[in-house]
Amino acid sequence: MLLKLLRRYELKALAFLLGMFVIVTAVNPSFMSAESLTNCFNDSVVFTLLAVGAGFVILTGEIDVSVGSVLGISSAVAATCLRDGGSLPTAVCLALLIGAFVGLVNGIGVAVLKIPSLIFTLGTYGVARGAVYVYTGGAWVENLPAWFTGASHSYIAGYLTWFYAGVVLLVVAAQILISCTHKGRNFIAVGDNINGARLVGINPTQTKIWAFVLSGVFASLAGILFTSRIGFITPMSGNSYEMKAIAACVLGGISLSGGLGTLVGAAIGAVIMTSITRILVFLGLSSNYDNTITGIILIVIVVVNTVIQDRAILNSHREISLKRIAKEAFKE
């Protein structure tokens, strides 16, 4: 039973995360405090939302590299609105609308015009990033109201922030959506076998458009949390976050060829990604090692996983052919 559970990739990722924590504690016992442990999770809110959003798209077999730019433009618009005395609902609605709009454009380009998703989202990535410069005039957006920036430090219980609690609820809701509802299961069906999905009456075009819209909405939500946590917005905010979000999905066990993985896995992957920096501090290494360690972990995990998978496939082939041989021998 336990072994069967461990085969699930997101549990492997969780085991990896816990293993990481154990090793760090062994080296530096001061890591094992409620504060530093919960901070690993609190810090991951932005990447969790980005990764889960990108996860929708990756599950359908596409990719979205525009999430970092969507985070940039929606956080710039929301921050400007709040700075100029706008109310929170207005700012949030504006941000979500922008995210949904960019997602819709991506979805139409990829699903209707049938343009490879990497290329199309690359285009919207550039346009959205440029739009941040145009909108802000290249200046920083500062002097945000204190109640907004303070919100990121309000705790629900102990050291756990309201933000992380909310994000966890969202992730759970998203996971229920894709694993327990008809519409949601279509995402995985389309990613696994698009022609098969079409044959059983699923509309792949619609499903993919929804995936991109959800990705945009999650990215703009991430933008709002980002604004609250950082407290100011530069034109470069969120730049290159898309790569980290995709890496988090891969770490969490979502296959880039689609149809395989869970959003909870993506969320765990995001925690691994953000914990690395904090863990390095406790290991006494400088943050210069950040990218190196991330790269090594990503490559090693993916290679090991691919090798294990290949071996499993080979073994099952061998078993099938052995059975066949045994059957034929029995006949004679």
Partner: protein, 329 residues
């Protein structure tokens, strides 16, 4: 010349004509060649990323390799005391090794190229940063003070007009063209992209060839890194950080199919120059803010690929056919 390359050429000529009418200075050799330094890395690297993409792979680590090559060059010159040209060769060797590792993982473990090079882009950017901390100079400052023979390389003009970088680009373009379109190796690359299993059954060592395409693209990234270092006079670990997406844009705009099996060096080279001139001409001739340049490049990419997708639809082609026959009647 194929139709797509012809279309790109028309776009390029139109682009230059528009810029030249807006600001006649644009056509002056000093100005137009002065722009080359900003676009030369994209031009050089995209040539060889084209080959990777034709095998149905992708290389998003090239930008990180540019920084790695630059900082390895700087550190091995300043702190190891190597001759600057030996240091440059050393940087190329390191990049080749890095490409070999990536290519090996992609080809022999059959891991998705996107994932491996994504990991590579973190790993090599991180390594570049670590190498820069080996140096006695602070890493954010970068290593400078290179000998004149090295820094004057990028500012040298052949015949007083033609910058050396252009020659480097042309030489590499011809090399890539011959390699991809005129040798057995190139035919094998195409066949692997069309159907890797068929290529394997045809007796081609597909794994080895896939691996070598990554080595080539990393070497080209190193060459770009060295040229860039020579031009800037400073070796830094993050020189190529923003190059990845323009490179992919150039390759795709050049007509290379992401699913592999189709693509051309001429197309990529033209597309790279189009993007480069767009980035240079808009600020010069239309006073567009440098920071806004992501928008025109993004719009260009979106418009071109959308138009191409619409034009290749059966419905559209039937419409064109009808219009043509209608015109004849």
């Amino acid at each position: 010349m194929k139709r797509w390359e012809l279309a790109l050429l028309v776009v390029l000529v139109a682009e230059i004509a528009i810029f030249a009418t807006a600001n006649p200075k644009f056509l002056m050799p000093r100005v137009i060649f002065g722009s080359i330094n900003d676009i030369i890395p994209i031009c050089i690297i995209s040539l060889f990323v084209t080959m990777v993409m034709i095998t149905a792979g992708i290389d998003i680590q090239a930008g990180a390799v540019v920084g790695l090559a630059s900082i390895v060059l700087g550190v091995s010159w300043q702190d190891l005391g190597l001759n600057i040209w030996v240091a440059a060769l050393f940087a190329i060797a390191v990049a080749a090794l890095v490409g070999l590792l990536t290519g090996y993982i992609v080809a022999y473990f059959k891991v998705q190229p996107m994932v491996v090079t994504l990991g590579g882009s973190f790993l090599y950017a991180g390594l570049a940063l670590l190498v820069s901390t080996l140096s006695s100079t602070e890493s954010y400052k970068g290593i400078s003070g290179f000998p004149d023979s090295f820094t004057s390389f990028a500012s040298y003009r052949i015949g007083g007009v033609l910058p050396v970088q252009v020659v480097v680009f042309l030489v590499m373009a011809v090399f890539a063209y011959v390699l991809l379109h005129r040798t057995k190796y190139g035919r094998k690359i195409f066949l692997i992209g069309i159907n890797q299993n068929a290529a394997e059954y045809a007796g081609i060592n597909t794994r080895f060839i896939i691996m070598t395409t990554y080595v080539l693209s990393s070497i080209s990234a190193a060459v770009a890194g060295i040229v860039l270092t020579s031009y800037l006079g400073t070796a830094k670990s993050d020189l190529g950080a923003s190059l990845t997406l323009p490179i992919i844009t150039a390759v795709v705009l050049g007509g290379t199919l992401m699913t592999g099996g189709k693509g051309s060096i001429i197309g990529t080279a033209l597309a790279a120059v189009i993007i480069g001139e767009l980035k240079f001409g808009l600020p010069l001739c239309f006073r567009v803010n440098m920071q806004y340049l992501d928008i025109p490049v993004g719009v260009l990419l979106l418009v071109v690929v959308s138009a191409r997708a619409v034009a290749s639809r059966p419905g559209f082609q039937v419409l064109v056919h009808k219009l043509k026959s209608h015109g004849r009647n």
